[in-house]
């Protein structure tokens, strides 16, 4: 045990020195899943050099002198991309002073920015990292205003610099929750939304209404990149009619770069979503009418939207913990064998937790895939990564191997046995 801890501590120390450079390495004889929707490749090789993927697939040779790990029996995937989460914003959900996931009493909405609030030493980041998640779109939850503020893309590395891209997207909630915030009705939500976009447009054009404006100046300024289409707008909507309203918004404000979040009834309007070219971060396994706006929810929602040509990622917020992403993806694969259900192929399911969320979050083709030039976020698994019995054995971020220890693994080792014949458990560390 002490060896393992020393090893982990060394890695952590290296990472925290922020001078740790990526190691060049290769993994051979593994089952490699590229993450782009294609099916896994057996007996394949992955080469990572200078913190980036250099090559992945069959017929890839390991450059002379590069350390190579025999991956026989292992699987290799890109690091998982968790959209959307609150990783790094809280320690204990119900301990409010430790929880920055929403700003219920703030005077600002759209201007809120999660980037400076992210704690890279959060246990939930460490636990997610051990679950194979290497990047995440972190959001601030709408609370006093329908706009939640500006989310960031982070990496989950054990180093002090978590931010991949600050202010990557804005969030807004419509539907039942948006209506409660805006004044008790969807009618109020639509006025608040349009007014905000109009004021932001005016502010950007130098026509700020000052005291007559509903928004604070900071909020109007923050929405500037949204109305100009430079910053994505993540819109939570569940009911088919609310989704149609979002599609209508796109016609009204054509520059908006919209992403649907939730979309429990998306399958009812899948063709329209596809035609509008709006990607979806969808609730994966919601199949109950938790709210009236989710009456038609079904686990086949994602599969049906995919068939209609919609770009769909699995929403990490709609599960107990982000590390459930592979399990949810695996469940969508299982639906392929259920009569009348719509599931995903294995490759599509992996893509829904790697390349697709990376693309939707605006990371382009450099994340969530094992392709030449992509970031060196690589996970080695002890089996099929979508199977509930599998787990990561090595995780690399930007080519740097990461520690997989955390509060949970330390508790596990302490309580491996209950022997206190020499000293209390408190001395076992």
């Amino acid at each position: 045990m002490s060896t393992r801890i020393t090893f982990a501590a060394t890695l952590a120390a290296l990472a925290f020195a922020a001078t740790a450079s990526a190691q060049d390495f290769a993994i051979t004889n593994a089952t490699v899943a590229v993450g782009d929707g294609s099916e896994p490749i057996e007996n394949a090789t992955v080469v990572v050099r200078d913190g980036k993927v250099a090559a992945a697939g069959n017929g890839v040779s390991v450059p002379a002198g590069m350390p190579a790990m025999d991956g026989t029996g292992s699987w290799v995937t890109p690091g998982l991309v968790a959209t959307v989460t609150t990783l790094g914003l809280w320690d204990v959900g119900a301990v409010s002073e430790s929880n920055d996931s929403r700003a219920g009493d703030a005077n600002f909405g759209a201007a809120l920015d999660v980037a400076p609030a992210i704690n890279p030493a959060s246990q939930h980041i460490a636990i997610s990292r051990a679950g194979g998640i290497t990047r995440s779109a972190v959001m601030s939850g709408p609370s006093e205003f329908i706009f939640g503020g500006q989310g960031a893309i982070i990496d989950t590395g054990a180093d002090p610099q978590p931010i991949t891209r600050p202010r990557a997207f804005q969030t807004v909630t419509l539907g039942e929750s948006g209506a409660r915030i805006a004044g008790g009705s969807r009618t109020a939500t639509h006025v608040e939304l349009r007014n905000a976009l109009d004021e932001a447009r005016a502010h950007a054009a130098g026509r700020w209404a000052g005291d007559e404006a509903q928004l604070t100046r900071a909020d109007a300024e923050a929405l500037g990149p949204v109305v100009s289409g430079k910053q994505k707008l993540f819109v939570e909507a569940e009911r088919a009619s609310d989704i149609r309203a979002v599609i209508g918004l796109k016609r009204e404000f054509p520059r908006l770069d919209l992403v649907l979040v939730g979309a429990s009834e998306g399958w009812l309007v899948a063709d329209a979503i596809a035609a509008a070219g709006i990607p979806v971060i969808a609730n994966g396994l919601v199949d109950l009418p938790e709210r009236f706006e989710q009456l038609a929810s079904t686990q086949s929602n994602i599969g049906r939207m995919r068939r209609a040509g919609v770009k769909v990622a699995i929403n990490a917020a709609a599960m107990e913990q982000p590390r459930y992403l592979p399990q949810f993806a695996g469940n969508l694969v299982s639906l392929q064998r259920v009569p009348r259900a719509a599931g995903l192929s294995w490759g599509e399911a992996l893509a829904a937790i790697t390349s697709v969320p990376a693309e939707i979050a605006g990371l382009g083709e450099r994340h969530g895939v094992l392709k030449p030039g992509a970031v060196g976020d690589v996970v080695v698994w002890d089996g099929d990564p979508l199977e509930v019995s599998s787990t990561p054995v090595r995780v690399y971020i930007d080519g740097i191997e990461q520690p997989l220890t955390n509060h949970q693994t330390r508790l596990r080792e302490r309580y491996r046995d209950l022997d206190e014949s020499d000293l209390p458990k408190a001395y076992d560390w």
């Binding site: 609150t86 914003l89 809280w90 320690d91 204990v92 959900g93 119900a94 301990v95 929880n99 929403r102 219920g104 959001m139 939850g141 709408p142 609370s143 939640g148 929750s177 948006g178 409660r180 915030i181 939570e236 979040v261 939730g262 009834e265 396994l285 199949d287 109950l288 009418p289 938790e290 009236f292 009456l295 038609a296 929810s297 079904t298 086949s300 917020a317 709609a318 599960m319 107990e320 399990q327 695996g330 469940n331 299982s334 064998r337 259920v338 009569p339 009348r340 979508l386 199977e387 509930v388 019995s389 599998s390 787990t391 509060h407 949970q408 508790l411 596990r412 309580y415 491996r416 209950l418």
Partner: protein, 465 residues
Amino acid sequence: MRYRAFAAIGGAIALAACSTSDSGQSVASTSSAQETGQDAARDDFVPFASTYKRYPGTPTALVGATVYDGAGGRIDNGTVLFADGEVVGIGGADLAIPAGYTRIDASGKYVTPGIIDIHSHLGDYPTPSVQAHSDGNEATSPTTPEVWAEHSVWPQDPGFSRALANGGVTSLQILPGSANLMGGRSVTLKNVPSRTVQGMKFPGAPYGFKMACGENPKRVYGNRGRMPSTRMGNFAVNRQTWLDAKAYADGDRDKRDLAKETLAGVLDGEILVHNHCYRGDEMALVMDMAEEMGYRVSAFHHAVEAYKIGDLLRENEVCSAIWADWYGFKMEAYDGIPENAALIHNQGACVVIHSDSDTGIQRLNQEAAKAQAAGARMGIAISDAEVIRWITLNAAKAMGIDDMTGSLESGKMADVVLWNGDPLSVYSRPEKVWIDGALLFDSSDPKRRPVSDFELGQPGEGDVK
């Protein structure tokens, strides 16, 4: 938290069912119970008696499957026979199939007993999850032994059907929430749709009694400036309530008292205690309190720290009903680890995997598999057949129905799931589910799935869900 925008963020999801909003203002419906009157009670009258009757079934032989019997046994290329609502035989390929049996080729498939969820709030926190449906916590007093969960169960909760079709759940215990130290009686149901809750009640199942440790009761009542506001307050209120109950139980019990009747039932050993409790140190205190007062705890629920006291749980013969890996959503859940089940098992104590969730109940098999794998990675190997026991016979045992269901043994209820693959794999789903020998879900028959009144005429009616 007023709103549920981007619903599950911030780790607060698990607070829903088993915690409380302070707004649970429902009024206990006890008038019917009182109307039963003393004389009726003396004549062994059973209030709200089960009216469940099994539905017709055909004698069935499942042939060629991998069979997990729920009691830790595994038969490859096995045969399971059931007829007239009961398991008739279980064996290998050589087991003779009597005449008149419908033979189902189950080769390449798996058979288990019906899955049992020991901790559910289906019906008392049904969907849609609107305030008008929030019937799980009688959060008006820290001790409400007089309330019965069955009076809150809405049989039209669509969640029952998902638990059946996606989770293979055939029996489940509906518990009051955990706002109160003593939350009231639970009810055990057959997962068979009915117009009335009496039509779902598991015939012959003992009542359970819900208790809760820790943060929830002291928060709910402390916030109102009343006792308990601390953990020591929790114990003081509990102990005094038990002392008063003992005085009642030791007396002539002449005057009917709904609260005391339930507590006396616990002291008599007829009602089983299900105690929501996260921390190991608190569970140890509860076991001492139980010894002091003369009752026993059947299971600790949500016992995320059970792995710290596996020896005590073994010695006291208390089961731990747990999630595979939930943690961190509240302070007392901070030390939850995925190896919990394996470590408890390794100490020789009883493991039950539970859901406390209308979605988790659809995947108890996967949660058990995750817990098994976490153990295997730390060198604790637990067989597949033993792991299936965590969601079948062990749950039945802690609920007091293990002589009737929970395993595939001749004479037991024919609660049976045919899976389209290994139930411990993420890629498998129930193909057919029988309850008391009646086929109530068949994935290949669009009409052989329940659709609640609520869903009729709504978008998605009768969908695969």
